[in-house]
Amino acid sequence: MNTTVQKKEARPTQNPAVPSDYVLPNVNIFETKDGYVLEAEMPGVSKDGLEITLEGNEIAIIGHRQTETVPGELLFRERHVADYRRVFELDPAIDTTKVSAKMDQGVLTLTLPKSERVKPRKIAVD
């Protein structure tokens, strides 16, 4: 399969370093001829709260929320104020040295270019 697939999350009991309470960010994943684009929604996370780690063929995106000063008493709650975390398995065609990230209004955009060797190219005939 040549798609970026989501890796099954490790159980908190198996990995005590991972807090059990986190939110899975909603993502969009696109593939173009040059690579993949992954957009993840992490409202409440600034550029400084981002942690992206590449390990082997896995990429983990973690978003730490800024500690909010809670004004007074909570009357109504829908937001789940916890850190974000999601792990993806990468297509081997991705050049992991060229991955770039951008954060804008709570949306992380990861650009994952394919390595030059896998891109279709024309061969000039002499």
Binding site: M1, T4, V27, I29, M42, V70, L74, R79, Q105
Partner: protein, 145 residues
């Protein structure tokens, strides 16, 4: 490696089932969004001076967010436009919602409409609504003679 067209979808389905057991509430919220449109999550706080509303609206433009107050009801609406630039790309996951949303919050006590402030940062909209003088809790001093 060759891609068997049905395989991606099957994996997605399995993921979805896994997730359903992992966080039934989050999944329920997502399912209800599919049925009813985009309902951004909203919190309402109250202290002595203000009501504070926080809404998660990732990836919006400031000018696409509308905030209005009418007879003690706070209305929030807006539209997140889908991106044209990926129109030709192959799509693997689309969990983000694009389109219009509308939310209304009825405030328990009157607020000073002219002093309402809104700020949009890191994809979170924060609206501060100061209470009117009449609505603020007052301490009455009683002189005991």
């Amino acid at each position: 490696m060759a891609t068997w067209p049905g395989f991606g979808r099957l994996t997605d389905l399995r993921d979805e089932i896994d997730r359903l057991f992992e966080s039934p509430l989050a999944e329920l919220a997502r399912t209800s969004q599919i049925l009813s449109g985009w309902t951004p999550a909203l919190d309402l706080y109250e202290d002595k001076e203000n009501f504070v509303v926080k809404v998660e609206l990732p990836g919006m433009k400031r000018e696409d967010i509308e905030v209005s107050l009418h007879e003690g009801s706070l209305s929030l609406s807006g539209e997140r436009k889908s991106e044209e630039k990926y129109a030709d790309a192959e799509v693997y996951r689309t969990e983000r919602f694009f389109g219009r949303f509308q939310r209304t919050v009825t405030l328990p006590t009157p607020v000073a409409a002219e002093k309402v402030k809104a700020a949009y940062k890191d994809g979170v909209l924060t609206i501060t609504l100061p209470k009117t003088e009449e609505a603020k809790p007052k301490q009455i001093e009683v002189n005991v003679s």
